[in-house]
């Protein structure tokens, strides 16, 4: 097949509705291929844009360029080993991936997570939420053209990564959240460092706002661009800051609290119009709320074990291995085979920085999961790009894509 025939076959599924754009304007439609390598896409996303002049008439996202077969790999490993595999899915919010998976497995096992572990999980999840919003902020403002914000946000991000390194030893993909709790208790000095960070973070977020909020260029590019109404978003399965910017205050932390989120007092920022500016404001305000949650978690951190005491699921502490025979046997069984999960299926949804992240685990009684499926928020949110950019300029397409916050690792899995 010649190259042009191949090309035509591929774009044959794009609608070619040529509406007249005005007097004397051109009616010819051009198919422009944006990506998979493009300075503005967040990750390797390919967009086939049908444009008329500078106006985008239709768009077709093509994904699959980072498809890693995470779900297939997860079927091959024991439950403990699936956690690092699944963490690398949505690679900016890795604690959330691990939390969803561990939550699903804990539901299937029917074990209780101790309260200290729940508070520690919430602490790290909210730190990760701040970090994810910082990355989003930096890269999306980079797309819009504000370069300083990128450097400032990544400077803050380094502080958060230092905290992660303090508590777990790794900057990214920390395997901190395990089935039954967290892998290790927080070290001495961690709480003070987190409090320092929490004192400074709101000031920094104010600085970002000062830089951007009254900037004419940012306002012109973000205000009234990419507006989608709430019902379309609900039909498309969109959750998270996108839905909240459109006015629907749906947040799983408040609606269906998990891991003791109901002990904390925080607000949900909700937008009004649903344009890009609202999305930016919603995410920016969420940073302040996350700081509040972290401070409350530190203040109310209960004493107790950091992982479940059920030795059939969690490793026994090292000092017990020298004295107790059962501990040694449990350790051996857990490390070689892993724990077995009774047959069943579970779907555990949590609120990730992008929306509802759900993990579906099917267990068949053996030590390896029979099916792991992560319902990624960006996968559904990407479908919202189509109504967002219709009849807007290409520059608005870039701004909308930035405000959508897609993470291709989660989309492609």
């Amino acid at each position: 097949m010649s190259l042009t025939e191949e090309y035509r076959r591929r774009e044959s599924s794009i609608t070619f509705e040529a509406e007249p754009a005005g007097e004397g304007e051109t009616h010819e439609l051009l198919t422009l291929n944006i990506g998979p390598h493009h300075p503005a896409t967040h990750g390797v996303l390919r967009l086939l844009a049908t444009i008329e002049g500078e106006v985008v008439r239709d768009i077709k996202p093509i994904i699959g360029y980072v498809h890693t077969g995470i779900e297939k790999t997860a079927e091959d490993k024991s439950y403990w080993k699936v956690i690092p595999v699944v963490e690398r899915m949505d690679y900016v919010s890795y604690y959330f991936n691990a939390m969803a998976f561990c939550g699903a497995v804990e539901t299937l096992l029917g074990i209780e997570v101790p309260p200290r572990a729940q508070y520690l999980r919430v602490l790290h999840l909210e730190l990760n939420r701040i970090m994810s919003h910082l990355v989003w902020f930096g890269t999306s403002m980079l797309d819009i053209g504000a370069l300083s914000v990128f450097f400032w946000c990544f400077r803050e991000r380094e502080r958060v990564l230092d905290l992660f390194e303090y508590s777990s030893g790794q900057r990214m993909h920390t395997r901190y959240i395990q089935v039954g709790g967290v892998i290790e208790d927080i070290p001495r000095g961690f709480a003070e460092k987190v409090r320092e960070f929490c004192k400074e973070m709101p000031t920094r977020a104010d600085q970002y706002a000062d830089l951007l909020e009254k900037n004419q260029i940012v306002i012109e590019r973000l205000r009234d661009t990419g507006t989608v109404d709430e019902q379309t978003l609900l039909d498309l399965g969109v959750t998270g800051p996108l839905l909240r910017a459109a006015g629907n205050p749906w947040d799983l932390r408040k609606a269906h609290p998990y891991s003791s989120y109901d002990h904390f007092d925080f607000k949900i920022p909700v937008g009004t119009v649903g344009d890009n500016y609202d999305r930016y404001r919603v995410r920016h305000a969420e940073i302040y709320e996350s700081v509040k949650i972290i401070e409350q978690a530190l203040d109310g951190l209960p004493e107790g074990p950091h992982i479940t005491t059920d030795r059939k699921v969690a490793l026994p502490p090292r000092h017990e291995l020298a004295t107790s025979m059962e501990a040694l046997i449990h350790h051996f069984k857990l490390v070689t085979e892993g724990f077995r999960v009774p047959p069943g299926e579970a779907y555990y949804p949590i609120e990730s920085p992008r929306g509802e992240l759900g993990c579906f685990v099917r267990a068949d009684g053996s030590a390896k999961p029979a099916r792991v499926h992560m319902r990624d928020p960006s996968f559904s949110n990407l479908q919202a790009l189509v109504p967002m950019v219709r009849d807007g300029y290409i520059a608005d397409l870039i701004a909308s894509l930035a405000m959508l916050d897609p993470i291709l690792g989660g989309i492609d899995r």
Partner: protein, 169 residues
Amino acid sequence: MPDATGLELAAQELSEAIPGSILGTEFHRGRAVLLADPPHTHGVLERLRTKGYSFLASLHGVDYYPEEPRLGVLYELLDMQRVDRISVKARVPADAPRIATVTDMWAGANHPEREVFDMFGVEFEGHPDLRRILMPEDYEGHPQRRDFPIGGEPVLFTYNEEQNYGKYQ
């Protein structure tokens, strides 16, 4: 989640409305699952949607190999007003993997159904654009089926370093 009795009531109601649509129910660890007959799944979902479960949280496939019917399509529905979740499971055999699409009710089912087609081979009748989404367009096979090999490269040690990819010349 509806509790066990709520689930049974819902199942009964749906069986009366569309006879033969509910093959069974499962209630495990607080999660309610309705087992639906593949030809009637669209009707079941439509009735659940009017009942209040208007948000499709997830649409995904499961391979129940070696139990028949092998390929399952799961719909996770969410009722935002009452904060209630219910799941609908439809199992299709691998030699006739066809089920009706739900893109007419939820536009957001477009990409998930394409993914189920790509990974498991379930064809959705009425889908506007059923193509592979994650694998290359001309890929053969459905990777996430249980009998598809996991693939990958052999691990390189020094004794087999030469036979493998190693240095690109």
